[in-house]
């Protein structure tokens, strides 16, 4: 267990540093309160309207389909690179994989998931 001692020390120092910095900051800094200071911190432009708006469900379906077919291409790249080593076995394997995905594609297509309207 002694091998983990540096990690524990590291955690203590990291946590302690944060606490110390916050306390020192609170004591040293001048206390001037303005309206802007109390606003929620956000990057970029202040948002124009409600940010918990309802989004069209289609976005999610498209995103999900994208993930599936993106993974397909992700698999295809290393397969293509190492094709000379895995040979016929790899080819059959990949054909099976794509055939299964084609079934899914056909299903999504027939259910109208690819149409926007």
């Amino acid at each position: 267990m002694s091998g983990y001692l540096p990690i524990v020390l590291f955690l203590i120092v990291a946590g302690g540093l944060g606490v110390v910095v916050m306390f020192v900051g609170a004591i040293v800094r001048p206390a001037k309160y303005e309206k802007v200071k109390f606003s929620v911190y956000e990057c970029g432009m202040p948002s124009l309207d409600e940010n918990r708006k309802r989004l069209n469900l289609r976005f999610y379906i498209i995103a999900m389909l994208f993930v599936i077919f993106d993974v397909e291409t992700v698999f295809l790249y290393p397969w293509a690179v190492s094709f000379d080593m895995i040979g016929l076995f790899g080819l059959i394997e990949m054909i099976l994989f794509i055939v299964i995905l084609v079934f899914g594609y056909f299903y999504a297509w027939q259910k109208g998931a690819l149409e926007w309207a």
């Binding site: 299964i100 079934f103 899914g104 056909f106 299903y107 027939q110 259910k111």
Partner: protein, 479 residues
């Protein structure tokens, strides 16, 4: 080449099921909107073909892919149990789904794919394969629980099941990493080898890993105190789906647990046998005690499902061949009586005032629908374990296994619990036969629901009156 054939034989049932599942997906988009039940019927036919083609002859063992997958009689028996659960649920669900306006092909396709996951769980000899199978099954179950999206409760059940399921899967996976870290292998046989060298006694990592894994398993089989999700999920899910969920995934989890615990953890019996004995007692007693207080029959059956998991755990801790045979037999009997009861429950409708499944809805049904009442009576008596019916045979075998393992105290607690359980099962029949109806209830049994409950009743009676034939059948299959 020899090796390749062996690999192919070990995975052949799963390959067949995948092909059939993909065909079901295509069939689903080809059929017309009002004929979606065809998908389910095709699913039944496909399961029948798979069952006929993949029967390993007695004693046949196909171990493949570096001892990762095993197709033998044990896997086959549990596959038959899942297939029967699918068949009965499909037949029993058609009218219910049509009535609720959710008759979609996906219901049957997803259920079909969940069986694929269960097959992987049961035939796994390696933790990775087991985990993949578990997730395939679990994700399908989340969808089935939330299938009726028009209803708040069903959606709630789906989300709840998903969150708890993901949590328990994470726990299981976390435990697996510890076990892998300590033993250096994921294969059941090799884990057993490593544990035999006395690693369990003095290695904290293995202990933590195993405890986390067993906790994950306990969540999956809804053992008390890891049962909190079960009543809400079973109550919220569409009734036929709830019937399926109380039977098939639980049988699959038990089968996978038997494989893991009997093979990999056999040297570590001192660790898990006491743990599961305590869990078994808690599960039986808690499930029965809370079921006593329920006024909603669906929720009552959900709690009764928890207590039945407790009975099955007795067979697990008995740790002898009788134990796992008894679990297989119990699961098989449980398929008929529980899916039958849930199918009949799904038929019941009152004119939109209160929940359909209230206990008061059953009042006076014996006069109005004598056949319905008789079917429900037989299922309730069987679930309670009244002697000439199938439920009794299942419980008897379980308690016998416990006696054989010198765990008489567990058998006694189990018997006391089934006496306790009689009360709430009887209450339903008392309402049906002796109470006057308070409001109007409709219970017209449709054609396919009739077939399901008929098969259920016939099997419950058959197993009850000719138990030896049935027990020999299971024993013959399990060797």
């Amino acid at each position: 080449m020899q090796n390749f054939m062996m690999n192919l034989q070990s995975i052949f049932p799963e390959v067949l099921m995948t092909i059939f599942g993909l065909i079901l997906v295509v069939l689903d988009v080809m059929t017309k909107k009002e004929k979606k039940s065809m998908v389910g019927y095709f699913g039944i036919a496909f399961l029948l073909i798979t069952a006929l083609l993949t029967n390993p002859q007695v004693g046949g063992k196909y171990l493949g892919f570096n001892n990762m997958l095993m197709w033998d009689n044990f896997s086959y028996v549990f596959f038959v149990i899942f297939a029967l659960a699918y068949t009965l649920t499909t037949l029993g669900s058609v009218e219910y789904l049509k009535d609720k306006g959710i008759l979609k092909g996906e219901f049957y396709t997803i259920m079909f794919f969940s069986i694929l996951g269960m097959m992987f769980m049961v035939s796994a000899f390696d933790l990775t394969i087991f985990y993949v199978g578990l997730e395939t099954m679990a994700i399908a179950m989340y969808v089935l629980a939330g299938f009726n999206k028009n209803e708040m409760r069903s959606s709630e059940a789906g989300v709840k099941y998903f969150i708890i399921g993901a949590f328990s899967s994470a726990m299981l996976l976390f435990g697996m990493t510890y076990v892998y870290g300590a033993t250096g292998t994921l294969n059941y046989l090799q884990i057993s080898e490593v544990l035999k060298s006395g690693l369990v006694a003095d290695n904290m990592t293995v202990k933590i890993g195993l405890i986390l894994m067993l906790t994950g398993f306990a969540f999956k089989i809804s053992a008390v105190p890891f049962h909190m999700w079960a009543p809400d999920v079973y109550q919220g899910a569409p009734t036929p789906a709830a019937g399926f969920m109380t039977v098939a995934p639980k049988a699959a989890a038990f089968a996978a647990l038997i494989r893991f615990v009997y093979i990999a953890l056999e040297p570590a019996a001192g660790l898990w046998v006491p743990l599961f004995s305590i869990l078994a007692v808690l599960t039986m007693t808690y499930g029965n005690l809370v079921a006593l207080a329920q006024t909603n029959v669906k929720r009552m059956l959900a709690y009764s499902a928890i207590s039945h998991a407790g009975y099955m755990m007795i067979g697990l801790v008995a740790m002898n061949p009788e134990g796992y045979r008894a679990i297989a037999l119990y699961s098989l009997i449980y398929v008929f009586m529980n899916i039958g009861a849930f199918t009949l429950l799904g038929i019941l409708k009152n004119k939109g005032m209160v929940e359909d499944e209230r206990l008061e809805s059953f009042a006076g049904l014996a006069k109005k629908n004598p056949l319905y009442a008789l079917g429900m009576l037989i299922f309730m008596f069987s679930l309670a374990g009244i002697p000439p019916l199938a439920g009794f045979i299942g419980k008897f075998q379980i308690f016998m296994a416990a006696m054989k393992a010198d765990m008489i105290w567990l058998a006694v607690i189990g018997a006391l619990n089934s006496a306790l359980a009689c009360y709430y099962y009887m209450r339903v029949t008392i309402y049906m036969y002796f109470n006057e109806p308070e409001y109007e209830v409709e219970a017209t049994v449709g054609r396919s629901a009739f077939i399901t409950s008929f098969i259920g009743v016939v099997m419950v009676l058959f197993v009850g009156f000719f138990p030896t034939a049935f027990i020999n059948f299971v024993r013959h299959l399990l060797v």
